[in-house]
């Protein structure tokens, strides 16, 4: 900030040393992720070679395997087939296999998107209503209410999974998109209420009071004045909710199987011949992680707030 050096400002040398250590840590910590992305571009043989190949001939086999189901065929059958139409068929043919159809990855990925967006929309919408009320009005037992909302996050998901499983079976919500959207909405509500309350506390009351003096009702003032003011906070909250729903595994693996299964329980089950198909898992992982990485960069200014439920605001 100012030019006079405060005692906290390090000297040139110690600052360089700190930067070096941080850069080394950054490189080491990103190796696993980089390795997974690299694996997605390896051939199956290259992925299981030892020592691990740092330089390799890139291949799209992993991505082809991720999106297709294949079956091995005898050579004379393959020879009797007409020549392959597409590059990916050719690639599969070269492994003495034929494509038997699309894999489940795309439906699982789109389930993740549908459920993620659905749950995000509802938890942010309901959360902003509750957050506004808790931020502006005298609500009896407000602190207890806020703590109660937060405490729902302390339940181990498995602990409530059994009753929810039974409840959903009775209501016909088991393994449905609607059921999962409701569930993820509720799990995200505590985060969204706490975060949004913090953001709304920061919007001066004078804005809506002025609007109300101009003849707006409280409702109109909320929708036309407060919500637009809170856009940044709402966007940050939405991204956090999206990331949570996107990453969630426990409920997904316990409550969904065929219809509404999301990607996280599916990716580990990608199996090739003779065990896990690492390039395909790498490809699935890469495609699955990219949105979150982009979100993280977008969110960087609000990260701290999000991960502490607004307890630390910087």
């Amino acid at each position: 900030m100012d030019t006079s050096r405060s005692p906290l400002e390090a000297t040139g040398f110690s600052r360089k040393l700190a930067a070096t250590i941080i850069i080394v840590y950054m490189i080491v910590t990103l190796i696993p992720i980089t390795w997974m992305v690299a694996t997605s571009f390896k051939s199956v043989d290259s992925a299981i070679s030892y020592p691990p190949e740092v330089f390799f001939e890139p291949s799209l086999e992993g991505y082809v395997n991720l999106f297709t189901n294949r079956s091995r065929q005898p050579k004379d059958y393959l020879d009797s087939l007409p020549p392959p139409d597409t590059w990916y068929e050719e690639l599969v043919r070269s492994r003495e296999m034929v494509i038997t159809g699309p894999s489940k990855f795309l439906p699982r990925y789109s389930n993740s998107l549908i459920i993620g967006f659905g749950a995000t929309f509802f938890s942010v919408f309901l959360g902003s209503l509750a957050a506004y009320a808790l931020s502006r009005f005298k609500v009896p037992l407000k602190d207890d209410l806020l703590f109660f909302i937060l405490s729902t996050r302390m339940f181990p998901p498995i602990a409530v999974a059994v009753p929810i499983f039974i409840m959903y079976r009775k209501l016909g919500l088991g393994d449905t998109h609607v059921g999962m959207i409701i569930l993820y909405t509720v799990v995200n509500l505590s985060l969204s209420v706490w975060l949004l309350k913090g953001f709304m506390d920061e919007i001066p009351r004078e804005y809506e009071e002025a609007a109300m003096i101009d003849g707006y009702s409280r409702m109109q003032a909320f929708f036309k004045v407060v919500l637009p003011q809170a856009t940044t906070g709402i966007a940050a909250t939405a991204i956090f909710c999206m990331i949570f729903s996107w990453n969630e595994y426990a409920f997904a693996v316990l409550l969904t199987q065929f219809n509404a299964q999301t990607a996280p329980p599916f990716i580990p089950t990608i199996i090739g011949e003779g065990g896990l198909d690492w390039p395909a898992i790498g490809a699935g992982t890469t495609l699955f992680l990219i949105p979150v990485m982009i979100f993280t960069v977008v969110l960087r200014k609000h990260l701290l707030r999000g991960i502490t439920f607004g307890a630390v605001r910087k």
Binding site: A19, P32, M154, V162, P265, P268
Partner: protein
């Protein structure tokens, strides 16, 4: 306030407050509290969720007695405690260290912070899967790098019952150290400069400044980070489920993994509900005591 509110048109503030809060409250009650009460009720029965026609009997405290008297459960608790303690210690030390370094504002600071934070944002289950690849004894990168520095020969992080508990500690620390780092960094940045300037005037050494100014100011932040991590790791499921799925044998069978096996593989619904209630009470109890201690430290 009230008289002022009445002058405006539309619903009263009180009505709006309840209309706004009600949906959230109802959903939380329906999807969180009702299942919890349901679980508590089931914990006193011999209910099996997969045997639908079977008569459900009230068995009193039998399930609880069974669990608390079972040596196996205490083993699981020990495994959980090992995991929670080591991850907290490592994440506190490394996280605080990184935060102290990052606080020496150098160029590219913000970019580096964002890159370091990435692992924390990923899906734990997917992270678990790809670490099984890194840990693979034949082709894994982790094993290769370790052997590069010291030749252990072939070793299996996930398959050996002595190494497996450490394999989950390593991955969790890799993933979540940025969390403590970020929060500690916020703590460090909140320390006003004049404190150091005053210390400088009093000729306090750098070390004294660290002990008397830096540490006490960061401590509440660090404790908050550890509270979050402690709760999360006590209920840890997704990462470990995909990484070791509790194995080999039950070497990494944390409380939640055990709970899943009892509830969704053996379908002992009554018994597992009792265990779930015990876990929840433990988390809640620990959490409350911890918050009290934390507030005392803050007051000082």
């Amino acid at each position: 306030m009230k008289s002022a509110a009445k002058k405006f048109k539309g619903l009263s503030d009180k009505a709006i407050a309840w209309i706004f809060i009600a949906p959230t409250l109802i959903l939380l009650l329906a999807i969180n509290i009702y299942p919890l009460i349901y679980a508590i009720r089931m914990s006193f029965t011999n209910f099996y969720a997969n045997k639908i026609g079977r008569e459900v009997k009230f068995v009193g405290l039998k399930n609880y007695k069974k669990i608390l008297g079972k040596e196996e459960i205490w083993e699981k608790m020990q495994i959980t405690a090992h995991f929670v303690c080591w991850t907290l210690v490592l994440q506190a030390l490394i996280g605080l260290g990184l935060a102290l370094l990052l606080n020496k504002k150098f160029k590219g600071n913000e970019l580096l912070t964002t890159l370091i934070v990435l692992p924390m944002m990923l899906s734990p289950a997917v992270v678990g899967v790809f670490w099984t690849y890194l840990y693979n004894p034949q082709v894994g990168l982790f094993n290769y790098v370790v052997n590069f520095f010291y030749d252990f020969g072939i070793f299996d992080m996930i398959g050996s019952s002595t190494l497996a508990p450490w394999s989950i500690v390593i991955v969790d620390t890799w993933m979540w150290t940025p969390f403590t780092m970020l929060i500690c960094l916020a703590g460090l940045r909140s320390i006003p400069n004049y404190l150091y300037e005053a210390a400088e005037v009093d000729r306090a050494s750098k070390w004294q400044q660290f002990i008397h100014i830096t540490l006490p100011s960061v401590l509440p932040f660090l404790l908050l980070a550890l509270l979050f991590r402690g709760i999360e790791n006590f209920k840890m499921f997704d990462l470990v489920a995909e990484l070791t799925s509790g194995g080999p044998g039950s070497a990494t069978e944390l409380a939640s993994i055990n709970l899943k096996r009892e509830a969704f593989e053996k379908w002992k619904t009554g018994y597992s509900s009792a265990f779930a209630v015990i876990l929840f009470v433990t988390i809640f109890g620990f959490g409350n005591v911890y918050v009290k201690v934390m507030n005392k430290i803050k007051e000082r």
